[in-house]
């Protein structure tokens, strides 16, 4: 039985578990009357979970090496919890008319965030699989949460089918790894690979990494495991989509980074070759297909695929030795933090418009500037940030990711990356074009609830402020590079 101190180290997870259960109880006891309280209970849970983080980060594993307590994991836990808070804030108004079952929703969301936290800390093959599956099941349920809505059902089924396939592939990879090393621990795996000169071990190692990539690629929506994204984004409840695009993706990156950097340093050359191809395909396909979209949610789905491609550049160029500020790993962390506020900010606007008018097609955004001037103006800020144009935090993210690529000499990747970010401007601006240059069919003002206005304003303020004063974010990301057992060549 682990001692008290060990339990304290996982207090963010424990807090979310308690609050998740608390939400069920309140919902059961209070019924309808409690529905106004539930989101704030969830938010309180997230805030408490974040608040414990500064006191906990160490550089060790607990539970017999299954679970890492390091600054890297805590960076991702914070991202997950912040993503959870913003998702709750945009859910309140969205759920009001659409479903009676509000308690379940916040429970699932709290547990989904809990799952992302567990993914960020997993250092054993078993934990990796369990936490990914945990997140997946929460996500399937959330995606299909609007039971009366056919599209929501379709989204959940598609998500589940793709998820089941990639999960099976990943499980096969995990079993191969266990076969090679005879241990579930990532650290043992590294030793096994480094010690063995057997060609078949090497071959199996590469095959199993590829299989694992199916599972991670599904979560981060990297080509060719991205096909679920457009349909799920289109059909699932929009706040859920917002969470999937940020929280789920970040957790996928956490696992990918940890596994690649701590278990597979021996195959560095092989996996960067593999990921380079994936990154270039992901960026290019995401952006080119996004050009064709007319549905805002589908457009953001392909945009989110493309964004995963840029982040993969940082993974490929990760090199934590030396004194350069461009370590790749910190680039991914900065990028993810930037993406968190940017993409969620954009989704707040999409939800606000969908709630007020039901509009999700780009032509329906015509004349938005006359109907909701603030939302339209902030759309520009978020899209500039997604495209990586200063003065927005998205630029800082791209700056560090491309910087790492240049430092490591991946010129082609950097070039493909910047060309893609130019292409992306075209489709982001297609929404701006509709919003600013076309006449609205219906000129009534769009009413936005105060909570939404506050959330979008906070996101926009952070997108701009973290660009003008990025040092604190850079420092945090630098700290977040503290990963247990990371290979320092």
């Amino acid at each position: 039985m682990p001692d008290l101190n060990t339990w304290l180290l996982i207090s963010p997870e424990l807090i979310l578990t308690v609050f998740g259960l608390l939400i069920i109880v309140i919902d059961l006891v209070g019924r309808e009357k409690s529905h106004a309280v539930l989101p704030w209970v969830a938010i309180l849970g997230f805030i408490l979970a974040i608040a414990t983080i500064p006191y906990l980060a160490q550089d060790q594993t607990i539970f017999a090496g299954m679970y890492a307590i390091d600054k890297f994991a805590f960076f991702f836990k914070a991202i997950g919890a912040i993503g959870g808070i913003l998702t709750v804030l945009i859910s309140i108004d969205f759920l009001r008319t659409r479903t009676p079952a509000k308690g379940d929703f916040y429970l699932l969301l709290t547990f989904a965030v809990l799952a992302t936290m567990m993914m960020a800390s997993s250092t054993s093959l078993l934990m990796i699989y369990l936490s990914i599956e945990f997140l997946s099941y929460m996500s399937y349920l959330l995606a299909g949460f609007l039971r009366e809505d056919k599209k929501s059902n379709e989204a959940a089924i598609k998500y589940f089918l793709y998820g089941a396939v990639t999960s099976a592939l990943m499980l096969y990879g995990l079993s191969l790894l266990y076969g090679i090393s005879g241990s579930l621990n990532l650290a043992d795996l590294t030793k096994q690979f480094a010690a063995s000169s057997d060609l078949s071990v090497k071959a199996l190692g590469i095959v199993s990494f590829t299989l694992l990539l199916a599972g991670f690629g599904f979560k981060i929506s990297a080509v060719p495991f991205h096909q679920w994204a457009p349909d799920v984004y289109e059909g699932a409840p929009t706040p859920v989509v917002a969470f999937l695009s940020v929280g789920s993706k970040a957790a996928g990156f956490a696992l990918l980074l940890r596994v690649a950097l701590t278990a597979f340093p021996t195959f560095h050359a092989e996996w960067i070759a593999l990921l380079s191809v994936v990154a270039m395909m992901t960026m290019t396909l995401g952006n080119l297909v996004a050009l064709q979209q007319t549905n805002v949610k589908r457009l953001l789905a392909y945009s989110s695929i493309a964004q995963a491609g840029y982040m993969l550049i940082g993974v490929i160029a990760a090199n934590v030795s030396g004194a350069s500020p461009f370590m790749g790993l910190n680039g991914v962390l900065i990028y993810l933090a930037a993406y968190l506020f940017t993409n969620l900010g954009a989704f707040v606007i999409v939800v606000a418009i969908e709630n007020a008018t039901g509009a999700v097609e780009i032509p329906e955004y015509a004349g938005l500037v006359k109907r909701a001037p603030l939302l339209a103006a902030l759309f520009v800020v978020f899209f500039l940030s997604l495209a990586g144009i200063p003065p927005t935090v998205g630029f800082i993210g791209k700056f560090f990711v491309f910087g790492a690529a240049l430092r490591e000499g991946f010129l082609l990747l950097a070039a493909v990356g910047v060309i893609n970010s130019v292409i992306s401007v075209f489709y982001y601006f297609s929404i701006i074009r509709a919003a600013f240059f076309e006449e609205p069919k219906d000129a009534t003002l769009i009413r936005v609830p105060g909570v939404m206005t506050a959330s979008v304003a906070i996101c926009a303020a952070l997108v701009l402020l973290l660009a003008v004063f990025p040092q604190s974010l850079i420092d945090l990301a630098g700290m977040g590079m503290g990963m247990f057992g990371i290979a320092r060549p």
């Binding site: 030396g322 004194a323 350069s324 500020p325 461009f326 520009v380 500039l384 144009i389 200063p390 003065p391 630029f395 700056f399 491309f402 910087g403 240049l406 430092r407 950097a414 070039a415 910047v418 060309i419 970010s421 130019v422 401007v425 075209f426 601006f429 074009r433 600013f436 240059f437 990025p470 040092q471 850079i474 420092d475 630098g478």
Partner: protein
């Protein structure tokens, strides 16, 4: 110590934010307009004060420098300063902004607040580029100007000229160039860093540290990445295709700023960044760049001659005129035995030509806009005989056109003469060919503009003449400062050349040891 340069750059954006708090409604529009115009006078006054009060033209170094740490972990600093290269351009920016806002007061009636807000935002972006001495900062300001210009073209552009298409084309062309510049900027940081010292983004410091020293391939790669970003902005053949579209579609004030300032950002960057940081690579490629300049000059003039749209014609004439600037710069750094004096004359001419082109083409775009307001067409075939019908307009057009084609006594002659005088020493053949551009340019302006618009007989039947009236007082006021500058620089160029010559001699110190 007042941070004058920060102040002048921050004021417009502060004004833009202030505009958000003005009340809504038709009545407030007039207030908004006057506020923006009067507000823009402050940076103009400060620019004048800096130039003639604080700035020492005999000093070839950076002046009024301000320095503060910004992002310590990548050694990015808020480092700004001004020298003889940027000083005239800063003044020109503030002057053209005020004139543009003043003119727009009378022609912009829709979405007034947004227009003036965007314009002030644009001014901050432009001034920021001219004061930045840190490449990161430079890049941020460089991109900051893109968005307002995009909106200015797309929203207030001429509906029949596909403003949205032209705006996104402008945006994407510039962005496509600048992202590769960004990669080059980062690469320079990485190569100047070592295990013990961090790299640098400081433009002055980079020149001293010589990034990519000894690695010719990488240096060339970085040089061309940055050069193309600037060349797109200039625009140099073959990167010029966005310009005619953007100019034709843009509202008058947008065209004035586009031609007057935004194009200068490119040539300014070439002189500010590429000569000091990549002197050898630049020298090795000077002939290629000279050839592109020559093509721009000749092709620009010929293409302008083929236009029937007045605004498109002026746009192509910009390709021609900016070609001279590039030719002067290329000649100043070209290999060979040219003396420092020859080179400095070429570079002086190039820098002066930047200023002159801003004044002259700025005025020409105003003049085209004024005609369009009356005729609602820019088709050159539709005019004729206006010289007698609207004499004040005719006089303004005549002065600006003569200045543009390089008539002695007016501004354009001085700078073009100096460029050719300097360039013959090092790029003899290219200069000889480029002289053709002067001939074609003169022919184009005399035939297409003066003859078609001012001379000939006035044909009542061609267009709605009931709106034909001579220039109004606000229009005359808009043009007067520019005409005065054309004449002043034409007869007394030392007012600018003293400032410019100090800095071009200093810059060329890296070319001629």
């Amino acid at each position: 110590m007042i941070p004058w340069l920060s102040l002048i750059t921050a004021l417009p954006i502060i004004g833009a934010v202030a505009l958000l708090f003005f009340p809504k409604g038709e009545k407030a529009n007039a207030t908004i307009k006057w506020f923006a115009i009067i507000w823009s006078l402050i940076p103009l006054a400060i620019a004048g004060f800096i130039w003639f009060g604080l700035f020492n033209p005999a000093n070839g170094k950076m002046q009024l420098e301000e320095f503060a740490k910004w992002i310590p972990s990548i050694n990015v600093n808020y480092h700004v300063g001004v020298d003889g290269l940027s000083m005239p351009l800063i003044f020109l920016t503030t002057l053209l902004t005020t004139l543009s806002l003043f003119y727009s007061k009378y022609v912009i009636h829709e979405r007034v607040r947004e227009f003036f807000l965007m314009f002030l935002l644009l001014e901050t972006g432009m001034l920021g580029v001219f004061i930045s001495l840190d490449f990161f900062l430079f890049y941020v300001f460089w991109e900051l100007g893109l968005v307002p210009m995009y909106f200015l073209i797309a929203i207030w552009g001429h509906k029949e000229d596909r403003p949205q298409y032209s705006a996104i084309k402008f945006f994407l062309y510039t962005l496509a160039g600048s992202v590769f510049m960004l990669l080059a900027i980062i690469a320079m940081y990485i190569t100047t860093s070592s295990a013990t010292t961090p790299g640098t983004f400081d433009i002055v410091e980079l020149a001293a540290r010589k990034p990519f020293a000894g690695d010719w391939a990488f240096a060339s790669f970085a040089f061309w990445s940055i050069f193309i970003a600037f060349a797109i902005k200039v625009p140099l053949f073959p990167f010029h295709t966005w310009l005619p579209d953007a100019h034709t579609a843009a509202p008058t004030a947008g065209s004035v700023i586009l031609a007057g300032i935004l194009l200068k950002l490119g040539t300014y960057g070439i002189v500010r960044v590429l000569i000091p940081i990549f002197p050898q690579v630049f020298q090795a490629n000077a002939t290629i760049i000279g050839i592109l300049a020559t093509i721009s000059i000749v092709y620009g003039a010929l293409a302008a001659m083929a236009q029937t749209d007045f605004k498109r014609l002026i746009a192509y004439s910009s390709v021609n005129h900016m070609g001279y600037v590039i030719l002067g710069i290329a000649a100043a750094v070209a290999a060979g035995g040219a003396t420092l004096t020859d080179r400095a004359i070429a570079l002086d001419g190039a820098i002066l030509q930047m200023f002159n082109h801003g004044v002259i083409t700025g005025a020409l775009f105003f003049i085209v806009g004024m005609l369009y307001e009356r005729a609602h067409t820019r088709d050159l075939k539709m005019f004729g005989g206006l010289g007698a019908k609207v004499p004040v307009y005719g006089a303004m057009l005549l002065v600006a056109t003569f200045a543009s084609l390089g008539l002695p006594g007016l501004a354009g002659f001085i700078s073009e003469f100096m460029i050719f005088r300097g360039a013959f020493a090092s790029l003899t053949l290219l200069s000889t060919i480029s002289v053709l551009g002067i001939v074609f340019g003169a022919a184009m302006l005399l035939w297409k503009v003066i003859q078609n618009v001012l001379l000939g007989t006035f044909d009542e039947g061609k267009w709605e003449h009931k709106h034909l009236f001579d220039l109004t007082m606000p229009e005359i006021l808009t043009l007067t400062p520019l005409v005065i500058l054309m004449v002043l620089i034409g007869v007394y160029p030392s007012v600018l050349l003293n400032t410019i010559n100090t800095i071009s001699t200093a810059i060329l110190g890296v070319i001629v040891k």
